[in-house]
Each structure stands twice: as C-alpha cells, then as structure tokens.
Symmetry: C2
Subunit: 284 residues, 2 copies
C-alpha cells in the first residue's frame, strides 16, 4: 500500500468510520463523502479524516487513488451509476457489502477503463450504527472475505488483502460471490431470521426474569438495524429461503419425533448436533 | 435450616454433586446414594459427602431429615415408587427436575404420612455432566424456581427457599407447575430445539472458519446431553410442540415476506424484535 495515495471513504457510518480511523492511524490520507454533514464534521474534529463533503464532491472522487464504498448495496449501485465515471484511471476500489451476487458484476460492468472494483466483506457488524460508534468495532477476531471475479487483477487482490491487514483483520480468506452469499445465508442471515422470529412469535417480555443464558444468547442478534437487514435479506433472498426451508425440515423432524414419542430419534439428533458443534468449539 | 438434620442426596451427578458441595461447605451433614461407586468414592475423598451407598441404602433413606433428588424424572418416579415408603415422618424433600407436570402430583400422592415433597428447579445446567464437574456449576446468576402445589405447607416452602439461599441463588421465584412447564418450553426447550435443528439441517462443519459470534452464540447449546434432553423434551412435549408451532408461524411469515419482496413487512418484524429484545437487555 502506497502512503502517497489519496484514500476516499464513501459512506461514513459505523464501518466507513472504522476504516477511516484505522487508515488515518496507519498514516494514510483519508477524505470522506457522506450525506450527513454532522458525521463529517465530527470525524474531522476527531481526526478520522482530512476533509469531507456532502455535495460538490466531484473533485474528491476524481482525485482518489483508492476508494472504500461503505454503503448499502442499493445505494452503492445507484451512487456508482451516477458518479462512477468520475473515477480516474488507476483507481482501485472495494466495498463492505454483506451480499455480492447481483452487485459485484454490475458494478464492474460500470467501471470506466483502467478502474477496478475488487469486492470484499468485513464480517464485523455490531448492533450499533453511526461513525460515532465506529471506534468500538473490533476487526481483529472477525473474518475478512475477498470475493474476486474473473475481471480482477492480482494487483487489486493484493491491495485489498494488505488493506485488510492494515485494518487489523487476522483471518482473511477468498470465496467467489456465489459461495460467499450461500455461506452468509447460513451463518449470518438464517441466524438473524431465527432470532427475530423467536422474538416475534409471541410477547414473552414477562418471561425475561426467568431467562437463562441460552435464551439470551439466541436472541442477542434480534436487536437489528431494520433498514439494513431488510435490504440484505431481500438481496440474498433465494439463499435465505433455501436455508429457512432446510432448517424448517430439521425442526419439523424434531416435532414429529415428539409427537410419536420417538426417544431414539431425538437422541440421534442430539448426538449429531453435539458432534457437529464440536468442530466449532476450537474457536470459541 | 437445622444443622442437626441429616441431608441425603439421591443421584450424585453434576447438580447433586454441587448441592452436596455447597451444603457441606455451609456446615451440614450430607450423605449420598448413587449407582456409580466411583462417583461416591470420589465425592467422599473430596469431602463433598460424609458417606455414600450404591446399594443397601435403606438406613440412609430412613434416617434422612431432608432429601434432594437429583435424578431424571422417570428415574425419580421409579425410585420413589420403590423406596419412598422408607422416608420417615417429618422428612421433607425436593428435586431438581426441569419439568413438573405429571411428576410433582404423582410423587406427592406416593408420599407416606408426614412426608412432604416440595418441588423446585435450579435453572443452572451446563454442557458437562458428572460429580467431578460440579464445582464449575455457578448458581449465583441462575434462577431458582419453587413450584408448590395445594398440598404444600409454608414450612416446606420456607425450607426450600432457605436451601436455595444456602446454595447461593440470588433470584428465587415461585410458579405453579403448569406455568413453570410453559415457561421452560419457551425459554429453554425451544431454544435447544432450534440450536439442535440448526446443526442438524445440513453438514456445515466446513463453514466453521467463516462463522462469527451470531452463529456461535446460537448453537452453543447444540452440545447437549442426549439422554437427559430426550427425557425432558418428551416429558413436556405438548408445551414444546406448541412453542415450535408458534415459532414456525413467525419464521414462515418472514419467508413469505421474502418471497413477496415485502420490505415493509420485514422491517416491521425487525423493529418488533428489537423492541422486545430491549426488555431483556437490562440483565445482559
């Protein structure tokens, strides 16, 4: 990574703010674009960014050597359709989107000559939002996933890998877009769908005094940013629907074992889940 | 609680062992009955109990002033049917069972004259088992629930409350058996059913390197004692089936919102779950 490069963050929220903070700490020059003037003023005051603009930002875009788009997918597509032509040849950029299919190739198709989009996903969300909370995001234990396509060059892939290292990620891997979205549909979105459904099933607020760790652990992620997650769910809907179906089959199998007093069947499910869960323990 | 009383633990496993340890620490005399000679020998060596028997234990039963049954419900019923008549008048006993309906009144009906059963449930399970692990059980943050019936006396209810305090529980409440089992069906059993189903849905062991906190939190309790949980699930099957049905309706509602691209419907579910989950936060 070249410290002479101008870095630009588009979307200075929780993740964009954390990228700005870590890049500035590492000695890079960082500007930002955000629609919220207060976020920009706060980030300048804190020294997260050198400058920021909510409008008239064309010069920031055309001067940028490296850009990070920290926007919702729909906004990212719309924004790039309008302003992507301003990027200069040699500009490489990445994103933070939690879904990739239907986004990455579309953005790549919009890139001017000499401009490259290498997609990536920092799996480090939190229940909070806003640049003011970004200092609390912890990248070190999180996964950073690079999702290259046939269009990408080794140079761009190498850059985003070094970016992830600079940001403090310890676990950096590569998947293609389809693999990424299937994995996300299971390990992240299905978990959120379950936690939300558990809270929506009925009003059990009165039970809060009886809940133990299991209930609390299962529903912690039911506190959820409604706009962002509706967007992510719909963007990846086919994978998520498939996962909901597979999960529902397993749950109905358990219900059937209960109805028929099939103790052996229940015990088999418990032994299977115990064995499979053990593979995850090493990282607990 | 009277320190002259002879305490007896029947079933010296994880919970029975912890009861023995805490009662002995508090200055009570504790004997134990267990089918495993090694558990008894270990507990005597560690000073958890004064003496223990795997057979020929009739004198231990008839000398006991206070008994704690730390057995699975089916074993508890069978054991008491065979040996309950040995209890002496004035003997008060409790249990640790995670389900109450179909157990408490049945045991009470078997009690000899002057012998009283006051049921209770220490909500402090762990993924481990065995007396050797009982020192790691932490009662302080857990709920202790007393489930009296019309048969119970204030004296027995007062005793089990003081027992819970002696064991270190900070949060002691009272429910009737039906309320208890409904609550357990939701906050504990449904959570375990979901976690197990999530692991059984397909073999995702290869995804372990991508999982974040949400998946890990959701599936921690999928490591499960197969015999004990099959027993508890079947014992409370109607409540659990009802909860599975309610949860499935909410999950299918979410799936339907995905199919129909109903962003507003998804956002409404997310806002509802966020608001409800907030009521649980105070205790996180």
């Amino acid at each position: 990574m070249n410290k002479q490069h101008n870095y630009l963050i588009v979307g200075l929220g929780l993740l964009g703010g954390k990228y700005a903070l870590e890049l500035t700490r590492a000695g890079y020059t960082v500007d930002a674009i955000d629609q919220n003037e207060q976020s920009l003023a706060w980030a300048m005051e804190q020294g997260y960014i050198r400058s920021g603009k909510a409008c008239d930002f064309e010069a920031l875009v055309s001067n940028a050597d490296r850009i990070i788009f920290a926007l919702y997918p729909t906004t990212f597509l719309a924004w790039f359709g309008q302003y992507g032509h301003l990027c200069k040849p040699g500009c490489i950029f990445t994103d933070v989107s939690g879904v990739k299919t239907g986004l990455v190739e579309e953005i790549q198709a919009l890139c001017p000559a000499g401009v490259e989009f290498i997609a990536s996903h920092p799996m480090a969300g939190r229940e909070t939002s806003g640049v003011q909370n970004s200092v609390h995001v912890n990248f070190a234990p999180a996964n950073f996933i690079i999702t290259p396509t046939a269009q990408n060059t080794p140079q761009a892939i190498g850059w985003v890998r070094r970016l992830a290292q600079t940001l403090g990620f310890h676990h950096i891997t590569t998947l293609n877009c389809a693999e990424h979205d299937r994995m996300i549909g299971y390990v992240s979105q299905l978990c959120h769908a379950i936690a939300v459904s558990l809270m929506c099933a009925n009003d059990n607020t009165s039970l809060s005094e009886y809940t133990g760790d299991s209930f609390r652990d299962l529903t912690r992620i039911a506190k959820i940013n409604d706009k962002m997650w509706a967007e992510l769910f719909l963007w990846n809907k086919q994978n998520l629907i498939d996962e909901i179906d597979q999960f529902s089959i397993a749950l109905q199998q358990m219900k059937q074992a209960l109805i028929t007093d099939d103790r052996t069947g229940l015990e088999e499910m418990f032994r299977l889940s115990t064995a499979r869960r053990a593979a995850f323990d090493k990282k607990d």
